[in-house]
C-alpha cells in the first residue's frame, strides 16, 4: 500500500496511522527483520526502517544505542535495502529514515532506484532540508519515492509552506524542540504545530513524532494528527528484554497497545 493509500484508509476508519520505527540490523539483520514483521503483524501500519548512522544528531540515547549495536555488528547500507525488501515482501508499507551522508555516498539516484526496487514507498530525511535537496527531489521524482521532510515548532510559516510544497506522502512534525525519545507527557507545542500545518495545507497528512511511548499518549496524539510515529519506546522493549522471546513478546504487546491507541482518539 502506498503512503497516500495508508493515510486515506485510516482516515476512512476515523483513526490515525501508526508508524513504528526500528533501526535496520539491530541487533542483527535477521532479528531486525523478525522485529519489523512482528510490529507489522501487531498493528503498525507503516514500518519506518532507520538506516544506522555513526553520527545521528537528531536521535536520543535509545536510537543511538540501537544504531551503535547494529553498526558494531557490521550492518551495511546494502543490508538495510535487503531488510526493506524482506519486510515489504511480508506485506508491510515501508518507509526509510536516513541521515543524508549514507545516501550521498551511495549515489543519490542509485539509492532512490534501489530503494524503490526494494519496495520502500517513501523516505524521511532528518538532516536534509528542502533548501539543500535539489538532487534528492529529482531522484525521488524519477523513482517515485515519497519525500518526507521535517517541520518543527520553531519553523516559520514561510518555511512550513515551502517544506509542504516539497513533501509527498506525509510531513513529519517534530512535536517538541528536542531529540527522539519517549517523554512523560505529550508536548503542548504539537497540536499548535499541526494546526499551523493544516492551515497552510489541509490535504497533506501530518505524522507527529518525538515523545510517544504508550497507548494513552498515542491516543492523545492521534486526536490531533493523521499519524503517530513511535520509535524509542518500541526499540527499548527489545533493548531492555532479558532474552529474545521476551523482547519480541513485549514488542508485539506495545505495538498492539499503540495500534489500539491510534483508534481511540
Amino acid at each position: 500500500m502506498s503512503i497516500a493509500q495508508t493515510f486515506a484508509k485510516a482516515k476512512a476508519e476515523n483513526r490515525s496511522v501508526l508508524v513504528g520505527c526500528m533501526p535496520a540490523g539491530f541487533p542483527t539483520v535477521e532479528h531486525s527483520i523478525e522485529q519489523m514483521i512482528a510490529m507489522h503483524e501487531a498493528g503498525c501500519d507503516v514500518i519506518e526502517v532507520e538506516l544506522p548512522y555513526s553520527d545521528p544528531v537528531m536521535d536520543g540515547p535509545v536510537i543511538q544505542k540501537a544504531s551503535d549495536i547494529a553498526l558494531a555488528n557490521g550492518v551495511r547500507t546494502r543490508d538495510t535495502l535487503k531488510i526493506i525488501e524482506a519486510v515489504a515482501s511480508a506485506g508491510a508499507t515501508v518507509v526509510l529514515m536516513t541521515y543524508w551522508n549514507p545516501v550521498e555516498k551511495y549515489g543519490v539516484d542509485a539509492f532512490a532506484r534501489d530503494l524503490a526496487a526494494a519496495g520502500a514507498t517513501g523516505m524521511i530525511t532528518p538532516d536534509l532540508i528542502p533548501d539543500e535537496a535539489a538532487e534528492w527531489i529529482a531522484a525521488s521524482d524519477a523513482h517515485r519515492i515519497d519525500r518526507t521532510f521535517l517541520v518543527a515548532p520553531s519553523s516559520t510559516d514561510e518555511r512550513i509552506a515551502m517544506t509542504l510544497e516539497n513533501c509527498r506522502g506525509f510531513v513529519y512534525a517534530t512535536a517538541l524542540m528536542g531529540v527522539t525519545g519517549a517523554r512523560k507527557a505529550v508536548s503542548s507545542q504539537a497540536p499548535e504545530l499541526v494546526a499551523r500545518i493544516r492551515s497552510i495545507d489541509p490535504e497533506m497528512p501530518v505524522g507527529v513524532g518525538l515523545g510517544v511511548g504508550n497507548g494513552r499518549q498515542a491516543a492523545e496524539v492521534a486526536a490531533f494528527s493523521d499519524g503517530v510515529i513511535v520509535g524509542s519506546a518500541l526499540i527499548r522493549s527489545v533493548l531492555e528484554a532479558p532474552d529474545r522471546a521476551t523482547g519480541l513478546r513485549d514488542l508485539r504487546a506495545l505495538s498492539a497497545e499503540l495500534a489500539e491507541g491510534v483508534r481511540d482518539r
Binding site: 544528531v57 536520543g60 540515547p61 532540508i129 520553531s154
Partner: protein, 413 residues
Amino acid sequence: MSAETLPDLAGHFGRFGGRFVPEALIKALDELEAAYRSAKRDPEFQARFQDLLLNYAAVPSLLYRATRLSEALGAEILLKREDLNHTGAHKVRNVLGQALLAKRMGKPRVIAETGAGQHGVASATAAALLDLECVVYMGETDTQRQALNVARMRMLGATVIPVTNGSRTLKDALNEALRDWVSTVDTTHYLLGTAAGPHPFPELVRDFVGGIGVEARAQCLEQLGRLPDAVAACVGGGSNAIGIFHAFVPDESVRLYGFEAGGDGMETGRHAASITGGSVGVLHGNRTYLLQDDDGQTIESHSISAGLDYPGVGPEHAWLHDTGRAVYEPVTDAEAMAAFQLLCRTEGIIPAIESSHALAGAAKIAPRLREELGRTPTIVVNLSGRGDKDVHTAGAYFGLLDQVETVVPGENT
C-alpha cells in the same frame, strides 16, 4: 566566484558548506545570521570586540622573525605568535566574538564542544568574562586524558558534561552539543569551536579569527616591505588556518599551505587528514571533505594532536583545495614532534603540537620553494597555540618524564 564574496547567501563555498541540520535548528541559524550581519555593521559591537582583543586577549600578536629556526630550515621563517594570546591560542578571538554575539542576542547560556579542552577552556573564559552560563560537552575518553583542562573549565565556572556515546571523542561531543541546542535554542547560543558546521558558522568564525591574517599581512609589509612567499598553518577543523589564509587569498604571489594531521602515516589509515585522505560528504551540518567508509559512516581520526583529531574540515578549506588556491599536505606525528623539538631548542618556544604540524610543513616546503624561487624563501608560520597543555604528551614521547607511564604515540593525551 571570488574568495572575498564567499560564501553565497545560502552559505555555500562552491559545492561545499550549506546547512545539513534538522529543521528545528534553522530558525536559530537564521537568527544567528541576522544578529551577525547587524553586529558586523555596528560600530559599537566592533569597537567592543576590538577593545577586548587589544586589552584583554593581548592581540595583535607579534610577528616574530625566528632567526635560529630560519638557519636550521634554510628559509626566512616568521612566526605569527598566536601562542602569546590570552588562554594560549588563536581560539580566544573566536570565543570573544561569539560570546559578545550571544550577549547581543540576549541568550544567557552558551554551550561548546571540545576535544582536548582548549576550546572548552576558551569558551569558559569568555563566559566568565561576559557573565554567561557555560556548558561544555567533552568525550569521556578526552575528559580522562585531559583532566587538567576539565579542572580549568570548572575553575572558570563552567559545567563539563562527559559524553559516553559513540567513540566518546570530539565528534561525539559535537553531536551532543547539537542535541542540546535543538532542545534549548531559545536561551542558548552554540559557541562552535571551528570554522565548520552549518551556515553561518564557517563564515562567522572565519571573520572573528580573520584578524590573524590581516595583522600578519600588515606586519610583513611593515617589517619586510613586501609580502611573504608562503603562509603555512595546521588544519584540523581549520579555524587558525582560515584565519591566517583569508587576508592573503587575493595575493596571488603568496602560496597558502595547510598541513593536516598525518598521524601514523597516510598508508596506515590512522590519520586525521580529511582533505588529503578523505572524500566529499556531509558531516556536522556542512558538505566538505571527511573521513568515511564506503557506506558514508564516519571513520575515527587519529593524531597525536588532540586539536587536529577530527574527521572533517571546514568547507572553505575544501573549496580552497578544489580551486587549487591553497595546497593541503599531511604531516605525520613523528614529523610534527621533530619540529616541536626543533622550535624548543632553537628559539626557546614550546609550541602546541597542533602548531608543530605547521612548523614541520614549513620545513618540508622550504627546499622546494628555494629551488622554485632561486633564493631563500620567506614563510609565515601560524604558531596557533602554546605547548603547555602538551607537556605530558611530549614529555612521554621524548622520554623526559620520570616514572610516568609511556604514552603510545598516536593516542591523544
